[in-house]
Structures are given as structure tokens and as C-alpha cells.
Symmetry: C2
Amino acid sequence: MPKRGMEPIRRAQLIEATFFCIHKYGFAGTTIKRVAEKAGTSVGLVLHYFGSKDGLLEATMRSLLKKLGTNLQSDDISDDDPKAQITAIINSNFAEDQVSPEAITVWLAFWGQALHTPKLSRLQKINLARLRSNLRYWLSQLLPKEDARFAADGLAALIDGLWLRGAFEETGIQRRHARDICLDYLNRALK
Amino acid sequence: MPKRGMEPIRRAQLIEATFFCIHKYGFAGTTIKRVAEKAGTSVGLVLHYFGSKDGLLEATMRSLLKKLGTNLQSDDISDDDPKAQITAIINSNFAEDQVSPEAITVWLAFWGQALHTPKLSRLQKINLARLRSNLRYWLSQLLPKEDARFAADGLAALIDGLWLRGAFEETGIQRRHARDICLDYLNRALK
DNA sequence: CCTAATGTTGAGCGTTCATTCAATGATATA
DNA sequence: TATATCATTGAATGAACGCTCAACATTAGG
């Protein structure tokens, strides 16, 4: 029962199915066949829309990074309260819909794979730099430049490390605990 | 030219070759054939000694974790100086031979794969818990119990996060910088 | 020297993978 | 209603995978 205008719908379905498969089977175990089955379509259709498996994976990573970067923009905090801005960044990184076991697993899978796939590597580097430079910007309003850089590097690593360890906690990330650790780091850095 | 007593030598060679392949090709791209070629042996021999690809990978992860956990024991610091003990833990995690791009890449690859391989998952959890409990033990000599747990969780995440980000720096981890961030965290936690 | 144990290989098996391709179904437009 | 375009499928292909197995080479002990 094919209808016109299916392209965006199919693309979204297939990306969603790819998330599911990476979460369930890992990067190595994610095959086009499995993705197609999960999405309820044929193998041929996947390649019709994404050209190749690499194309599908790249689109999926783009979608993931977009998701992970979206939360922040919805908040509107006054620009003259840097600490509130940083707090918002921390909160957004541990918002409920960001730290699902599925999100963490897939995020980690891409992290590992990006080391061996130039296109994914570029996306990953952009994302890494973004968090750090955002933190640097707001911290530099509160601290001398060098201290701001130092604290931003630490805070960025701390956030990622909490994510990383969260991948192995059955319950997913302990959101409040993770948030408290980051806020504590921030408060101590500002003293 | 086969000789007796080759088993331990071959095992070591093959594990070494597996490191190389995981670093170069990633987890998904590491095949028995590539490992055998790198080690200069035949495909059959790999399976002769490790039974299966999974067996080889498990042995390789065991070897990696052993490497990463070795440094500490060589240091001997008096037990009545907890801060020195913690400093030694931090230093050992960023010791030169621990933070080679190869080590970080392989470590990260296993981290991602362990989520989908029960045997690797068990190894991984043991390792995660070890760092944290070591930190807890020494911190609890300097801080109230709850504060010690809090700081240990933060410091463990910070260390792992610095490793994680180091995977994407062309130069590998900036050892001194990473160390300074951790020591700074420690000092502030003890105030 | 013979034999048993160890070390090693390469061919071959069945499976699964990503990808190509020709063909068909459905819809909008003219 | 005709036609071009979009949506979709399933079969076919060739390569690569992990793994089995029979056979051979080398060595140590009796």
C-alpha cells in the first residue's frame, strides 16, 4: 500500500529502528536486515533511501546528536547569569529523556565507531568541542581565562565520564546523583 | 618450524595482534584472518588456542585490564598517607604507557562491546567497581563517609571522562593536563 | 627408531553480509 | 485515461565471515 510522500516518514522509521538495533545488538550486530525487519520494511528500501549502510549509520548519528543537543535551546535564561547558564547545560545533559539506557548505549557505540569512520569522527569532534566551548564561554565570565579553560575541561570530562559509567548501571544514570556531582564541581570551581 | 612450548608465546603474540587490529580496524573490523596475518600465523592456529573468536576477545580484554591495573602495585606508599595513595591512583591512570592512543582506543572498543557480551560485561563491571572502591577506601580516611562516596564517584567519572575525550585528541591524552584536573578535584574535595 | 604429544596448516563448509537490479504497485498530473 | 514518478519488493550476486577437520611437521620420551 504505497503512498506518495513517504520519504520523510520512512527515513524516520528506519533511523528509529537503527537506534533500536544498535542498542540491542551493538554496532557490529546491527545489520540492514535487522533494521528493515524492525521497521517493517524490506532490505531494499533501506538502501533506496540511505544509499548504503554507512549512509544509514551517519544519518542515525546525526539524529542522535541533534537529540542530545536540543534540550538546551528550549530553556531561556538571561544572558547575564552565567552560572544559571552552566547549570542549565548540566541539567540538560542529565534530563530524563537524554539518559535512557538506550540513549547512553547508542551514544557509546557511536563514540567507539567514530574512531574508525572519518565521517562519524568529524561529527563527534564537533560535538565534543561544542560542549567544552559552551562551558568555556560562560565560565570565562566568572573566572580568569585560564581558570575557565581548566574548569571547562574538567566539567566536560566529568559529564562524559558520568555518562560512560551510566552505561553499566542497570538502572541507567542516577540522574540526581550525577547532576549533584557536576553542580558541586561547578560550585567549588567558582570559589 | 614448530617447536615445543610455543603455547604461551603464541597466545601472547595473538593477543598482541588482536590489540593491534582493534586499534586499527575497530571491534567490528577485527577478524580472525586479520589477527592471524598480523601475528604471522594461520587462521586455524588462532582457533586452536582460543577456541573461538569470542575466546580470543575475552583473553584480550583480560590482558588489557591486567595491564591497566598493574602500575599501581609497583608503587609503595605508606598506608597512613591516604592522599598520597589517591595521588598514586591518579598518576597510575595517566602514566605514560597507559594512555597511548592504542590503549585508549582498545579500552573504548571493549567498553562498547561489553554491553552486548555477558562475559566481557562481567569483567568490565569488576574493573569499574575496583577503581571506585579504591578511591572510596582512601577518601573515607579523610572525609566523612558520605562525602567520601560522593567524591569517589566524581573522581572515578572524571578519570574515565578524561580517557574518553582523550580518544579523540590526535596527540592522545594530555597527561599532565589530565592529571592536574584530577589533582585539583582532589584538593578541592578535601577542603 | 618408534610413538605419542604438540604445533601448524589449508582446504572446505555453511552462513550471513551489503549491495545490485529488474520488475511491480500505487499515485498524481496532464 | 495515459503516463511519468514515486514507493516497494524479492531474488540474485559475490565477497567475507567463523569454524571444522583431516593431514602433516616437529619434537620428546621410551
